[in-house]
């Protein structure tokens, strides 16, 4: 199962296996049959580590979502709450626990990824701490999402750091990186850009000192670590991703490798299947076709799909050519594979159609056009009629905020009058409750007034962020992922190895936050390295591996761009991507919003 994790340059199934063991050991500590009560935000991630069949083998009989009310009755011996360390969740646990039938069950709490003093205090304050036979911590720091992607799945990381000055997630990120180093060796070269990134490097250095030499167990498999702070490039996630996977995320949302689609386009394979349920599809590199098209510009996906369709029907036709029994047998043995391919083709064709419906709409096109204009710096200092119309038509607030933030970034801040105008328009149209959100955006710097430096134009020119004549079908530059805009973050990663950051010092100085380079000493006997027989495909001179860690989130398009870089001819490095959370413009801005639900006013 899930062998795709081991198909990348760095075998991530090792990481998963270590987390799996840890989890099973925790489960086994609770002797007897168990019911797990899940914090909803954890089911997805932990499912990627250990699925239900595996848990069943460890006497897990029941699984329930963590919610208010009475837990279903059952005759399990243990009830285990698996939860993030969030204060509000403790209230739910209390509610569950106090409503339990008074039969003898052992209660346990597992905190993921860390136990927290505040939550334990809260449990004590609620008077239920003593009821638990054990309070454990399951340090699931970073989850292997795919063969080259790791995510901590903490959506509030950027908000906590930049809005609330709460650096917990940096600590957790450093811990996650220590976990990675424990399994894959100490990473010799570290580069970072941005203040939070700088802090993570500090913490890593500190943690390594604390280990006192206990980390020198494995030869290093990863050569470089690049930590990028989202604040260095807040623009990229605001833009609409135009890769296949990126668009799926933009339109339908991908969560823990799953996306849900309206079912109509999919031929229900089982007739009994209720057609009103959304169709849930798993998206990862174990699906060959998806692996081939995920990183492509959407405009290039159609060709691949039709080519694939022809290929499959040709394969089916082979059965006519099969004359002898032997040939027939060979054909039959290939059949399951062909059928799987066909099913996959069917799904992706349906998804592509759904996406096309969306991208063909006037709204989608108009918004792309407007974005392109902002990016090229045209008329960014005036109120944009397009944005005004969007507001007037009460289009989704997140869309409007996204556009305004893009304009603001490209204009290096608004004149105070324009900023006030936009704010007023939003408040008048969407309501006063969004004022705090606007203040939040100002506080993190996504909305701001003009400073003296006009850096965007400089950065855009010297890093060649805008490319003319993009070849969407056979790209030669990363800018294809946004049809003409090369993501700043990935450009930085690209230039790090060729020609090196020393050549772009000026640009780096313009971008926010510290730039840093560190070298971690590795004992002589561990230095050389990787068994040569590990991969058949490796060419003579081995590519180095760089781990790019995006603090504050990364988009699928950025991941695609990095994959593209490592597949280019004589690419100097292969990339492994890690992040605090997989994001897109919507989810990212959403994490910065403060939503208030007004209580109904009492008429008396």
């Amino acid at each position: 199962m899930a062998s795709h994790l081991s198909s990348g340059r760095i075998n991530l199934s090792v990481l998963r296996e270590s987390y799996r063991q840890e989890f099973l050991e925790l489960l086994d500590k609770c002797k007897g049959t168990k019911a797990l009560v899940w914090d909803g935000a954890l089911t997805g991630p932990i499912d990627l580590i250990a699925d239900y069949t595996l848990l069943k083998g460890h006497e897990v009989d029941r699984m329930w979502p963590l919610q208010y009310g009475r837990l279903p009755s059952s005759n399990v011996q243990n009830i285990i709450f698996i939860t993030r360390a969030k204060s509000s969740l403790m209230d739910i646990i209390k509610d569950n626990v106090t409503k339990l039938d008074n039969d003898r069950k052992e209660l346990h709490v597992f905190f993921v990824p860390r136990r927290s003093l505040l939550c334990e205090k809260k449990l004590k304050d609620l008077g239920i701490y003593g009821l638990f036979a054990s309070v454990e911590e399951y340090s699931l720091d970073i989850i292997p999402i795919d063969c080259d992607v790791l995510s901590m799945e903490t959506e509030l990381s950027f908000r906590n750091c930049y809005l609330e000055n709460d650096r917990t997630s940096l600590f957790l990120a450093a811990k996650a990186l220590m976990t990675v180093q424990a399994l894959y060796g100490v990473i010799p070269n570290i580069f970072s850009k941005g203040d939070c990134a700088d802090e993570v490097v500090d913490l890593m250095m500190r943690m390594r000192r604390e280990l006192g030499g206990r980390d020198m167990q494995v030869p290093p498999q990863i050569d470089n670590l690049l930590i990028l702070d989202r604040i260095v490039d807040p623009l990229t996630p605001l833009l609409t991703q135009l890769t296949y996977e990126g668009l799926i995320d933009e339109i339908f949302g991908i969560s823990n490798t799953f996306a849900k689609f309206p079912p109509e386009k999919f031929n229900a394979s089982a007739p009994g299947e209720a057609s009103s349920d959304p169709k849930k599809i798993k998206l990862n590199s174990s699906d060959e076709l998806f692996a081939e098209i995920r990183d492509r510009n959407f405009n290039a996906v159609g060709n691949v799909l039709s080519r694939k369709a022809k290929l499959i029907s040709a394969q089916y036709d082979e059965r006519h050519a099969a004359k002898t029994v032997g040939e027939m047998k060979q054909f039959v043995s290939k059949l399951p594979h062909i059928q799987a391919e066909k099913a996959s083709l069917g799904s992706h064709t349906a998804i592509a159609e759904l996406i096309k419906e969306e991208t063909d709409t006037d709204e989608f096109r108009a918004s792309l056009v407007a974005t392109q204009e902002f990016l090229s710096g045209a008329e960014t200092d005036k109120a944009s009629p397009y944005i005004e119309d969007c507001i007037a038509k009460q289009e989704h607030l997140l869309k409007v905020l996204r556009l305004i933030c893009i304009q603001c970034y490209c204009n290096c801040g608004f004149k105070p009058k324009l900023l006030d105008y936009y704010k007023r328009e939003i408040i008048q149209t969407y309501g006063y409750q969004h004022l705090v959100t606007l203040h939040n955006l100002e506080k993190v710097g996504l909305l701001r007034t003009q400073g003296t430096v006009r850096s965007y134009a400089t950065v855009r020119k010297s890093l060649k962020l805008l490319m003319e004549d993009v070849n969407e079908q056979n790209p030669n530059d990363i800018s294809y992922v946004y049809s003409g805009y090369a993501p700043l973050s990935v450009r930085l990663a690209q230039l790090l190895h060729r020609p090196g950051w020393r050549g772009i010092t000026e640009v780096l100085n313009v971008l926010p936050g510290k730039t840093r380079e560190e070298f971690q000493q590795i004992p002589e006997w561990l230095r050389k390295r990787r068994a040569s027989g590990s991969s058949v495909h490796s060419s003579g001179s081995e590519q180095k591996v760089t781990l790019v860690f995006f603090l504050g989130g990364v988009t699928f398009a950025e991941i695609s761009a990095l994959r593209f870089l490592s597949q280019m001819e004589d690419a100097p490095v292969d990339y492994l991507i890690a992040t605090t959370k997989l994001i897109n413009g919507k989810t990212w801005l959403d994490s910065l919003m403060d939503v208030f639900q007004a209580k109904p006013v009492n008429p008396f």
């Binding site: 204060s87 860390r114 136990r115 927290s116 003093l117 505040l118 205090k121 609330e164 000055n165 709460d166 650096r167 917990t168 940096l170 600590f171 450093a174 802090e199 500090d202 913490l203 500190r206 000192r209 604390e210 006192g212 030499g213 206990r214 009629p385 005004e388 119309d389 507001i391 007037a392 038509k393 009460q394 900023l419 006030d420 704010k423 007023r424 328009e425 408040i427 008048q428 149209t429 969407y430 309501g431 006063y432 409750q433 004022l435 705090v436 203040h439 403060d594 208030f596 639900q597 007004a598 209580k599 109904p600 006013v601 009492n602």
Partner: protein
């Protein structure tokens, strides 16, 4: 002396019994009159005068003494016993001395007789008294104790470090005392075998009691003694008739029944490894093998038997012997007439040293098995206690190596190293009489632990360095223990201590300074502790101790440096509890990270405090934001408004004009909405201005709309959109038409077309086509579905891009049109 002189055959195998050392306790001890407890693996020995066996010195109520010796009989400590009557002494696997009293309490001492703690085996044991006790090691590596009370019930703890008392099942026939019993620990379960006369019962941990069928042929009156082997797999039962039954502890296998012809209960019955059972009657030792073979040894004074994993130690008043089956490799080499490779090599080596050419002959004989011969000699060396023999065998191995080209020397080197270590710890000043096999079982780190327990730091650290152990497991650990011990010593200046420790430990990786500091705190040496903590790298260890010592500010700084939020909260909550509020707030004020975290905490747990903090810090912007959030929590209109007034005030102080204005507008809007609700009896509150106006348009309340438009200065552009959308929603096409003519539209007329099309009113849409600007005309035609007109209009304005757009919208089914547009495109391209 022939090397086989101390060998005795037991059936077809040989046993040997040899002196480990002479006992230094010589005159101090009489085993005859003592209760003895010796720890396995050559561990220490504890003794106490046995009241039952020895004669009481009449008239003098002397307090008994517990003496602790090393295996070599060197005194380590003396405990003057003040407590109750001791029933049994024993050692835990961590070498703590366990003293079990009649009242069921177990007093625990360290190897130097320092009291550590007491555990008890329950109220019932205390009430009715304990009459017998067993101390045992479980298969999971813990040490447990089981007691038999005078009411013939058994209570047991399987781990003295985490005592959980279990009462075992009752045995039928409560009035008859058990004749003998023992604890058997296999895999996960620990159970008790108990004999009542001729019946044997198994008491498991789940409160079952089951009678066992013993496969024995001889008639049995009563089992009066039993012994379980070191690995718990084998069992020996001694019957009152003198029959000794030997079998597996599961009672499934039987090895033999042996008639000892002695009906007296042996003083001790024990296993020698797993290969023989030894019984001890006064001065006679009888060893019985599984095939009824036997050997008898006689002594002139009492001895004590200590079963070991690979044999048995026999402690006497003056000597300390080891009894074991001769290891195979040793037998191969030394056995008279042995022709094994090892024996040949050994001979060759001896001849070589004598300068005899026979050496060559011997080597030739085993030429192609030389490697095996070497290994035999090396292994045999390991089993020898006398360095002379060790050397001779190793020399033989090394001689053999000369004839081999690519022989790996790992085994040889390792054996030399381990023997050197073994010889060092067997020294009479150290007195750990460990065999090679026992060391393999224990592993070196455990041996180091034992040396640390005996405070033999110098030897320990030299062994670590000699074996090149990583610092973390080796030298650092030893140093840390040394330092902990050091800080507990009194009479040395703290300053001097700190310097001494820092000098020795320096930057040695992996030393836990906090552990040492904690010891210092326990001894009340606070200054020393603080000095030591300064060297601690792990904040998670350092911070709690700093707090414990009241170094709040330092604790806070260190917690923040670690980046560990939880640690910072530990400090914050701790300070909050211990300090007056004002002082607390002042102390975190200058630390931004602490402030932010405390604010975060207040945001969830203490809203009033949050406002107060912002107010205090003149952070009016955040105060405003917080007040907004709070206002939405309120259910009463007037309080909500008054909260917003306070918000407005805060934003004003923050000099945030825009927010001030917007808040003021919101209050005005709410008042208006309230009024509308009263007038129309429809909900308006919590709608935005835009939504309010939209609703009013839909409800055709012109006056209200106009008032709001003026009061709130709604821009024309948005107002037009609003009105167009609202009117189309109600389907009031006439009003829409009138509106379109009221003045020139600031957003053009395309939106009019758009809304009509959206409501599928194409006829109405047509009306506005005339007023659509030429550049938008094509798209409007497309929206209306009039592709042909769209194409023509594109052609007219010579706009190729538009034409392509029309083409893309043209369904392939409409061939004629499709071709027509393509012609048009060519036309344009030509021009």
């Amino acid at each position: 002396m022939a090397l086989t002189a101390d060998w005795n055959p037991l059936g077809d195998v040989f046993f040997r019994k040899f002196d480990l050392c002479s006992m230094q306790w010589s005159d101090q001890v009489d085993l005859q009159k003592s209760i003895v407890a010796a720890a396995p693996f050559g561990g220490p020995i504890a003794l106490i005068r046995d009241e039952a066996r020895g004669q009481k010195i009449s008239g003098v109520a002397s307090k008994p003494l517990i003496q602790i010796f090393t295996s070599a009989g060197k005194e380590l400590a003396v405990i003057r016993w003040n407590s109750g009557t001791i029933l049994k002494l024993g050692w835990s696997n961590k070498l703590d001395l366990l003293c079990v009293q009649e009242d069921g309490s177990v007093l625990i001492y360290n190897i130097f007789g320092v009291y550590k703690r007491t555990i008890t085996l329950g109220q019932e044991a205390r009430d009715v008294r304990v009459i017998q006790c067993h101390i045992f090691n479980t298969s999971s590596g813990t040490t447990g104790a089981a007691v038999l009370t005078s009411s013939y019930r058994i209570f047991m703890v399987t781990n003295i470090d985490e005592p959980r008392i279990r009462r075992l099942a009752e045995v039928p026939g409560a009035e008859i005392p058990p004749s003998c019993w023992s604890v058997v620990s296999l895999q996960q379960s620990t159970h008790v075998l108990l004999a009542k006369e001729a019946k044997l019962y198994l008491l498991d941990h789940e409160l079952h009691c089951e009678e066992q069928e013993v496969p024995i042929n001889s008639p049995v009156d009563s089992y009066i003694e039993m012994a379980v082997s070191f690995n718990n797999k084998y069992l020996a039962l001694f019957c009152s008739s003198g029959i000794l039954w030997i079998g597996s502890s599961s009672l499934k296998e039987i090895y033999c029944e042996f008639d000892t012809k002695c009906q007296k209960r042996p003083q001790q019955l024990a296993w020698c490894s797993t290969v023989a059972v030894v019984g001890c009657w006064e001065d006679i030792l009888l060893m019985i093998g599984p095939k009824k073979d036997w050997i008898k040894y006689t002594y002139d004074s009492a001895v004590h038997l200590v079963p070991e994993i690979d044999g048995m130690r026999i402690i006497g008043n003056s000597s300390h012997e080891f009894l074991q089956r001769v290891p195979a490799c040793v037998e191969e080499i030394y056995k008279i007439g042995s022709m094994s490779e090892g024996a040949m090599l050994f001979e060759a080596s001896k001849e070589f040293q004598r300068g005899s050419q026979k050496a060559d002959e011997y080597i030739r004989m085993i030429r192609d098995k030389l490697s095996h011969a070497m290994n035999q000699c090396i292994s045999a060396a390991g089993h020898e206690f006398d360095p002379v023999n060790q050397k001779a065998l190793l020399r033989a191995a090394s001689f053999g190596k000369c004839f081999l080209e690519d022989q790996k020397s790992d085994f040889f080197v390792r054996m030399c190293q381990e023997l050197r270590v073994l010889n060092a710890v067997r020294n009479k000043n150290v007195g750990i009489l460990l065999t090679y096999q026992q060391l393999q079982h224990l592993q070196v780190p455990v041996l180091i632990d034992r040396l640390l327990l005996q405070k033999l730091y110098w030897l320990a650290i030299h062994i670590c360095q000699y074996l090149k152990m990583p610092d973390i497991e080796g030298a650092s650990r030893v140093l840390a223990h040394w330092a902990c011990d050091k800080v507990q010593q009194s009479g040395i200046e703290e300053e001097q201590l700190a310097r001494a420790i820092a000098e020795k430990l320096g930057d040695t990786p992996g030393v836990s300074y906090s552990e040492i500091a904690n010891k210092a705190i326990e001894c009340g040496k606070v200054d020393l502790a603080i000095r030591l903590l300064g060297c601690e790298l792990k904040a998670a260890e350092q911070v709690p101790l700093l707090l414990k010592m009241g170094r709040n500010q330092l604790a806070l700084t260190k917690a923040i440096e670690s980046g560990d939020t939880d640690l910072v909260y530990t400090v914050l909550l701790n300070l909050q509890e211990r300090m007056p509020r004002g002082e607390f707030l002042m102390s975190i004020r200058t630390v931004p990270v602490a402030c932010s975290l405390y604010l975060q905490f207040c945001r969830e747990h203490n809203r009033p405090m949050l406002l107060e903090l912002y107010y205090q810090e003149d952070n009016f912007q955040e105060e405003g934001n917080t007040r907004i959030a709070d206002s939405y929590e309120d259910e009463r209109f007037e309080t909500r408004v008054s909260k917003l007034v306070a918000t407005q005030d805060a934003f004003n102080k923050a000099k945030n004009e825009c927010a001030t204005k917007l808040t003021e507008e919101q209050i005005r809007l709410m008042r208006f909405q309230r009024k509308m609700e009263e007038e129309t009896n429809k909900p308006f509150l919590d709608l935005s201005l835009h939504e309010t106006m939209y609703k009013l348009i839909v409800e055709n309340n012109q006056k209200g709309v106009e008032q709001l438009r003026k009061d709130f200065k709604v821009p024309d552009r948005r107002f037009w959109w609003m009105k167009i959308l609202a009117l189309s929603e109600t389907g009031d096409w006439n009003e829409l038409d009138r509106f379109s003519k009221s003045k020139k539209s600031p957003i053009g007329y395309e939106p009019f077309v758009e809304v009509c099309v959206k409501n599928r009113n194409f006829e109405e849409a047509q009306k506005y086509m005339g007023r659509v600007t030429p550049e938008n005309l094509v798209r409007c035609y497309v929206k209306l579905g009039k592709l042909e007109q769209a194409a023509e209009s594109a052609l007219q304005s010579k706009n190729a891009e538009d034409l392509n757009f029309v083409l893309s919208k043209c369904p392939p089914s409409n061939r004629a049109l499709f071709e027509k547009i393509q012609t048009m495109r060519n036309q344009l391209g030509a021009k």
